[in-house]
Symmetry: D2
Subunit: 261 residues, 4 copies
């Protein structure tokens, strides 16, 4: 097999991306979502797909001092000449537990709903949820997309993400299975763990028929934009040193110098 | 100073991003470019800004087997469970020489055009280019944004990027200085080094009044989308092993096994 | 719970690492392996542990143009100002398939040998291997630490790693299980997949009583040293551009410019 | 030019590293420092070089909750399956300001001492320091290797690092220049900024005749070992969530949920 890609090729005069001339067919004609779809699927997104892709990227973009934002800021403190290193540092946390969880949720829901009809009865969906919960409990695997350290009584993003999914015709069996899981957990096991943002986004990815890698990929693209905002704020109003000091203060064995300023 | 951010905060019931409620004010109402501007500048983009931001992201997204795509694919070969690691690996090359160069170009042009009027005469722009070239040659610093290993006679992206900049009113003194630099290099020094894509994008960033960090940041966001496409293709049709074999073949001291398949 | 570490703390006058003064108790008295053990286990290594830790680091360090070395070189091409980014890029491939596999092997062997006595009879070891192979085949999980794209008839590192393990008294039930797995695969399933270097190193880690994270960690430390050698060679004799050209040449649709040199 | 390396090559039967057979010439015969020198310089270290290389790695290894350790822990929180991502995240901060500074210091001292004789008189060294300080102040470039946020009156590592350098015959013109710089700053400019650990390590690297990339490289290797210790402690006694909570607490707009535990 040769080392080649179907994504694109280049000559001295043209750059081709999946059969289109980057300069004359794409520049000024494609927006970013068009380009994401073209690069990944060799086709343009439908309007409703574009709306949902924008929603996912917006939801991923970040808010406040999340672990990824903190990691980016701490890295920038040591290497301000490397914006890419600071952003990469923050993205590396998008694994199975935060942010990247969208992949795990989408894969879990696809497997769990594989035998469900698109218009399965509620009972069948609940049964599928029950099967899924049982399997995960048997192997002591944590179910992805549930619970939140702050939004303990329910993630405020979830109902809005559901509503927009319904508007665009992407509220299908994966969403329904995802919503049935916490219900089963509560009814059968007395556990209260509401769906979180990543859970809802994983359901969206699955009901849009997208793959888990693409789902985690969108999270990385969206979060990168948020991390850039953190780098820029850090460059203007540095907090990395204060963050370091704050951490040292938590252990009384650390003694800071008295600075004569 | 406290460890805090103006980007956002969160309570059990709401997530606020620069004064707006993420769920009720932003979801379904902001597209991704709106969100990028809101996060970074606390304001919405004008339509022409949105057009240009889309253009920059599209231009950054990738085409074919660039070094960043190769790095992503080689990383995925060893750690397919870590999509974020593969994407981060590719982004780490967005430094001063490729892709991230937009930052260096934007900063260079802003400094070089600082004393130019917005409607400076051509002679003044040429003189500013001459001063810039002299300074860089004196300190043996390479001028960013010039030359390309494939598009040696001119980068096909540049004229289209210029045209779209003109359409949207972003062809200003930084673009003009950027175009004057290769002219000065050829006329005064006999060097033929046409402007490349990163050079044009850096001129756009500068003429839009944006900072260099934001410019490099957009490249990271856009390229992340391209790298996701490479990860997905690699997952379906792996090339990493072939790439490794191909490299080993370049040195006759490496001997591959005869595989009985 | 507080944000604190038992690894160390600091005051204006002293830096303490697990109860020792870094400057007066450690500098000039600890070599690097002592420090690795002190940081990770709060104790000094025995001489035989030191010999094995050196062996693991040496084995991990790299040789030739592995995927991690290529990724490092390609990243350095774009961001030569960021040595740390180039090294990090190469390390990111140390996952479940290459290099980082030591973690997966060690965990697999520990689980698989959990009920074996230290001096179990050969039959019991073979039976444990048979059980392990059956479980992995049932869940279609690839067994880590087997096979190599070049050393198809046996990895030349394995017998030497075994011999040194025996010399130092670290050839125990995990090594024996690891060696029994390819035998079972060949006898019972007709599959010929000899143990590779990572397999042997994982067996060493397990027979030394170390955890899988520490095992993968040693691989990262060792490989970092090799990647530094690649960065230094790349800085002196760049190959990144040639590598890029070589890849483009594999697809005839890519056309390179005729360069007038 | 071909894509090849002088570091090593491989056949089905042997792995060669700079002319030596990895399995039969190196395993069990080289310790890690030997391997670092062999890979990077094609020669074995002298005993005094080995002592100093161990010292540098030990000094780099980490202590307490530095920014790189925090970044590693925050990344592990989101992606515990990717030890390599957590370690890479921490290494990415080894740039021009922290840790990686050794490169900047070594390069600065080599340039500043280029015209000094090995046994230059104190006055000549002071004059070289004066010239260096003047140049840096003229271009408003911060001098690397000075000052510390905790050890404001002097870094406790510096005198010990100096003493060990003297013992091994590596206290030369670069060390002397490095020590003269804070003296000049205080005498001529009234600024009190004592040399820090990275400053001393950069002086060592320069007086050992090593290059700056190798210097920063050793810091990466050494720090990787410390970050592994942090990952392991984090896996046993997680602090990432507490760290996140602690940061949120700094801004009263963030409200945490009342958890019924």
């Amino acid at each position: 097999m040769a080392v080649k890609t179907e994504i694109g090729y280049t000559t001295p005069d043209v750059i081709m991306v999946r059969g289109k001339n980057l300069s004359t067919d794409i520049f000024g004609k494609f927006d970013f979502i068009d380009m994401i779809y073209w690069l990944n699927f060799s086709r343009m997104p439908e309007p409703r797909e574009k709306a949902m892709a924008n929603l996912i990227l917006v939801a991923a973009a970040d808010h406040g001092l999340t672990p990824s934002a903190l990691s980016t800021r701490l890295t920038f403190l040591g290497a301000p000449e490397s914006v890419q290193g600071a952003v990469a540092s923050g993205l590396l946390g998008a694994g199975s537990r935060y942010l990247g969880t969208v992949l795990n949720v989408a894969d879990m829901l696809k497997k769990g709903a594989a035998t469900l009809d698109p218009d399965a009865a509620d009972e069948a969906v609940t049964e599928a949820a029950r099967t899924l919960v049982r399997k995960y409990r048997e192997t002591r695997t944590p179910i992805s997309g549930l619970g939140h350290n702050i939004h303990v009584h329910g993630d405020p993003r979830v109902p809005v993400l559901q509503e927009i999914s319904e508007q665009h015709g992407y509220f299908g069996k994966h969403w329904r299975l995802a919503l049935a899981i916490p219900q089963v957990l509560e009814q059968d096991h007395g556990k209260r763990l509401p769906m979180n943002g990543a859970g809802a986004l994983g359901a969206i990815v699955a009901d849009m028929g997208l793959d888990g890698i693409f789902g985690r990929g969108l999270m990385l693209v969206g979060r990168a934009a948020g991390l850039v905002a953190h780098v820029r704020e850090e460059a203007e109003h540095p907090t990395g040193q204060e963050l370091w000091d704050l951490v040292l203060d938590q252990d009384p064995r650390n003694v800071k110098a008295v600075r004569a300023r």
